[in-house]
């Protein structure tokens, strides 16, 4: 799932659940997830 798709779905769900205040936190989380995925992509998994 792309981060863009995830963020869209998460924000819509938060809105539906009456947690609109969660959206800026989810945007911050999305940036963190993007950084984690990029770090993971660069790691040589063969060394794990």
């Amino acid at each position: 799932m792309t981060i863009e798709a995830w963020l869209k779905a998460a924000c819509e769900d938060a809105e539906r659940r009456g947690l609109a205040e969660l959206k800026p936190l989810l945007e911050t989380l999305a940036r963190s997830t993007a950084a984690l995925r990029e770090a993971d992509r660069l790691i040589d998994r063969a060394r794990l």
Binding site: A14, L22, L26, L36, A39
Partner: protein, 438 residues
Amino acid sequence: MTADLRSIVELAPLVRSRAVSPVELTEACLQRIEARPELNAFITVLRERALAEAQWAEEEIAAGGYRGPLHGIPISIKDLVDVAGTPTTSGSAVPPRHPETDAPIVTRLRTAGAVIVGKTNLHEFAFGTTSEESAFGPVRHPRDPGRSAGGSSGGAAVALIEGMCYGSVGTDTGGSIRIPSAACGSVGLKPAYGELPCDGVVPLSTTLDHIGPMARTVIDTAIMFAVMKGASVEADSRVKYAFGVPERYFCDRLHPDVREALGTTRERLERAGHEVRTVEIEHASRTPEVYLHIVLPEASWYHAATLATHEASYSPGVRLRLEMGRYILAEDHVRALHFRTVLRRAVDKALDGCDALLLPTLPIPAPVLGEASVDVDGTQEPVRAAMLRLTQLFNISGHPAIALPAGTTGDGWPVSVQLVGRHGETERLLGIAAAVER
């Protein structure tokens, strides 16, 4: 009322020889707790039980049954840890649990004869770094009630520096023993992961949770740890150590007085004949995202049921962080778990040829309560991120780490350094810390 800030190691022979009464020590601690209610250091004060325990200790010692350095010594327990017959509130308005048995760590301390004066206040469910989100009021720094004592074990650290107890038990998932120790000018040890049992402790993130001792000095912390683990610690002052300072990432943004204190500590160690070199921890800059993708879903897992039934009972900030965790995808959680292995190896590599790493514990002195961001050497940073920045890696990697005082800022706020040791060498780390302590 003047606080009795004597150490456990000073008091123990006096208690053993009956020159000092455990009942009088306990009564004095209880009076200091009652004298500063505005600090919100305690949630539950066990006055009658503590005095009964102290009386029992006194009688046992008089009968020749001295158990060791903690016998008759008043200590406190973070209210995330079960003490039989006392609610474990976790600093929350969510209905507490009512344990019928002590957590194993508490049993070990009782077996050693320690007197439990009460349960200390904390950031709700240990999910914060300032101890300000608590159903029992924010923990206030004794030096300035408008400042945080750090967290999440804030009440424990305040209890120590105010002489309300002589040792404390805290927990540490991202820095929650070390952060308040740094903010308050006390000592706090996060042992290696799994070294002490976390049974009977409300979890925040089981992959990152640790339980550990807090005290006013390294030797007192070592005494507490020895009892909690069933080990012995010796410091050899003749040994010269090699310290590695991971400058990149850990020293990039520091309050000027924190940077100066680290430099002063470094120079002092070099003058004493120790070696201090610069090292690097590869991938350290990835720590925040790895931490977030472990702590959030694991915390959400534990709270899933109560979020459905008692969502309004949580502090708003804690509730939102718990809700965030429910959105993290399994694949990203697993990515973070795999990266944990990468980071552990990176810390091992940085420790190669060193006895311990040396770095600051907090990049800033104790922050103002209620502030969302803080200026760190000219850059605005969220308070939570700033306070976790230098400690959270060692929860991920599981290496033992200890915070100890390293002087003060120009206007008198405590500054702390952190030592990180190798896996399996927590006792040795305590010996190294005793050599660094001044």
